[in-house]
Amino acid sequence: MNGTPRVAVGWVLAALILSASVVVATRTFSYGSSSSSVSGTVAPYIQFVAGADSAASDHVSAFAIGTNRTTFSATLIGFGGAKVVVTDLVNLSNVHAAAHAVTLTGTQVTNEKITNLSLEVFNGGTSLGYLDFMSAAPSRSLGSMAVGAVYTVRLVWACADGATSSDATATMTVRMVVSP
C-alpha cells in the first residue's frame, strides 16, 4: 500500500519531465500567412522589410509586406532576352533579442523561357549564397542571424530572347524557417 503513492508521484514527475523536454526540443518556429495562431502569442523573430529598391520602378511593381511581416509579394518585370537585377529588393531583419538560424527554401521554376531566377542574400557586402529557383530543390541556409542583423536580398532573373508575358510569367515560392 505504501508503494502505490510513490508510483503515482513518479508518474507525475516523469510526465512533467517529458513535457518539458518536448517543449525544449521542438522549439522550431515557422511563420506564415496562415500562422495567425503563432503570431498571436509570439512576435515574429525574423521579419521582412521593404528594400531600398522595392518602390515602384521599371522592374518592381506592387511590392507589399504581409501583415505579420513574414511574407512579401511583388510583381517583378523583365524583358525578353535580357537579365534584370534588383539590388535591394527586400531585407530580412532579426528583431528578437537572440540569434536565430534562418533557412530559405523554394520550389523549382520549370518555365523553359526563364533561364535564370535567383535571390542572393547579403550580409553587408558578403554574399551568403543564392536561392536558385532553377535547381530541383532550391534551399539556402543563411546560418545564425545575429541580434539586430539586417540581410539584403538581391533578385537576378533572365529570360530567353522572344519571351513574352504570355509564356514567361511565373510565381516564385519562398519559404522561411526560423529556428532557435
Binding site: 510526465a15 506564415g32 529598391d53 524583358f79 537585377v85 511565373a170 510565381t171
Partner: protein, 186 residues
C-alpha cells in the same frame, strides 16, 4: 488519494501527447512574388552603317554586332542605335565581360550627349572594362554605340559585353542587354 495522483499523472501524459502532436505541425511562411515580361523601354536598332552590321534579337534587347575590318585605322561611326521608347529618361553603360583581340587594338566608343566613353583593348583583355559614367538617353530620344578600330587585320576576335540600362534615379535596378561584337578580317 492514489486515484487523484493517478488522474494527475494521466492529465500530464495527455498533455504530453497533445503537445507532441502540435509540435509536429509545421506551418511554413510562403511568399509568392511573380515575375513577368514586358516590352523593353530601350530598344537596340541597327544603325545601317557601312562596315558594321547589327542584328537585334527578337526582343530588341539582345544584339550581335559584326565589324568587318579592312586593316589600318577605321572609325565606323554609329553601329548601334539605342532608342528610348519610355516617357522618362533612361541611362546606360557598356560593360566588357570576356574576349581578347589577339594582338589587335580595338576601341569601342560610346557616344551620347553626355560625352564619349571608351572601352580599350591592346592585345589582351581591355584596360578599361566599363564605361565610367552613365550616358543619358532622353525620353523618346536615341543615342548610339560607335565602334572604332585601330591596327586591324589580325585574326578574328569575339568580344562579349553587355549594355546596362537603368532609370536615371535608380542605378541599382537595371537590365543587362547581351552584346556580342565580332571583328573579322577581310
Amino acid at each position: 488519494m492514489n486515484l487523484r495522483l493517478s488522474l494527475i499523472a494521466l492529465f500530464f501524459l495527455l498533455l504530453l501527447i497533445v503537445g507532441s502532436a502540435l509540435a509536429a505541425i509545421t506551418v511554413f511562411s510562403v511568399s509568392s512574388p511573380t515575375v513577368t515580361v514586358s516590352a523593353p523601354f530601350v530598344r537596340i536598332e541597327d544603325a545601317g552603317t557601312s562596315g558594321c552590321v547589327t542584328t537585334p534579337g527578337l526582343s530588341a534587347t539582345r544584339s550581335s554586332l559584326i565589324v568587318t575590318s579592312t586593316g589600318g585605322t577605321n572609325d565606323y561611326g554609329q553601329c548601334i542605335i539605342l532608342r528610348n521608347t519610355a516617357s522618362t529618361a533612361r541611362m546606360f553603360k557598356v560593360r566588357y565581360i570576356s574576349g581578347t583581340n589577339e594582338g589587335r587594338f580595338n576601341d569601342v566608343q560610346v557616344k551620347s550627349d553626355g560625352g564619349t566613353q571608351h572601352m580599350k583593348w591592346s592585345g589582351g583583355p581591355p584596360t578599361v572594362t566599363e564605361t565610367d559614367s552613365w550616358q543619358t538617353i532622353a525620353a523618346g530620344g536615341t543615342t548610339s554605340i560607335n565602334v572604332r578600330e585601330r591596327i586591324g587585320g589580325g585574326p578574328a576576335s569575339v568580344i562579349t559585353s553587355e549594355i546596362i540600362v537603368a532609370r536615371s534615379n535608380l542605378p541599382n535596378v537595371y537590365a543587362l542587354y547581351p552584346l556580342t561584337i565580332t571583328f573579322t578580317a577581310t
